[in-house]
């Protein structure tokens, strides 16, 4: 398991390649990358605040839960904080599993929990001013998909 919270950019391609290359016996690797979207009205930059200490612990807990739930080969989370420009990469996750469904589900699980349960806050600096990004109801609702079910 590889969890990194950092201000500096990361090399998505090299990270993805290295992650895939160090797997053994895994048939499927999924990556997700979150990118600063240039918004209508013009995004000057995005600022990401986080809670040092808690952030790493929260990400580790989320990754451990995914690993237990899908018997993953491995999981990687890299998340940046600080100031990011349009089209810069904010974060990535990668998952490896024997089969594709597990790799996809685990990556979606990581993203859903990371969105609403890891202590990051985004502030968009637009041409007409700055605003904190509001949490979306659909992001909170997405967690329901992973709630324990009967017999599960």
């Amino acid at each position: 398991m590889d969890i990194r919270v950092q201000e500096s950019p990361f090399a998505f391609g090299a990270e993805a390649e290295a992650f895939a290359a160090r797997q053994r016996g895994m048939g499927a690797v999924v990556t997700f990358t979150g990118i600063v979207r240039d918004l209508p009205g013009g995004m000057a930059h995005m600022e990401i605040e986080h809670y040092p200490g808690m952030t790493e612990a929260a990400l580790r807990k989320i990754a451990e839960e995914a690993q237990a739930r899908w018997d993953l080969g491995d999981a990687l989370i890299i998340h940046r904080h600080g100031r990011l420009g349009p089209d810069e990469m904010i974060m990535m996750v990668a998952t490896a599993a024997r089969h594709r469904v597990a790799a996809f589900e685990a990556a979606e699980f990581l993203m859903d929990f990371l969105k609403s349960r890891a202590p990051f806050w985004k502030k968009e600096h637009l041409s007409e001013g700055a605003q904190w990004v509001a949490a979306k109801e659909e992001d909170e609702a997405a967690l329901d998909r992973w709630a324990p079910k009967e017999g599960a």
Binding site: I48, H79, M111, R117, W132, A135
Partner: protein, 82 residues
């Protein structure tokens, strides 16, 4: 005595990221009531409990949580990572 941390717009409204607070509050909700009684900026930050999240010793919890033995309490809006 405990550290109280504020993030995102809660930090901006309170006007600082962290402070050391002398308190006998037994729960998060009691601590919030004490802070709100202090100054209008705390009133502004804590006006809508439903818009806030809280962590005690870096674990997400709720406003009913006990503060017994707690060293660090953090207040912030819903998270928006990813």
């Amino acid at each position: 005595m405990m550290d109280v941390l504020y993030f995102a717009w809660v930090r901006e409204r309170v006007g600082l990221p962290k402070e050391r607070v002398e308190t006998g509050a037994a729960t998060v909700r009691e601590l919030v009531a004490e802070l709100k009684a202090r100054e209008p900026r705390y009133e502004a930050a804590f006006a809508d409990e439903g818009a806030l999240r809280v962590a005690v010793d870096q674990e997400l919890t709720d406003f009913d949580a006990s503060l017994t033995g707690a060293r660090e309490v953090a207040f912030f809006p819903p998270m928006t990572g990813g």
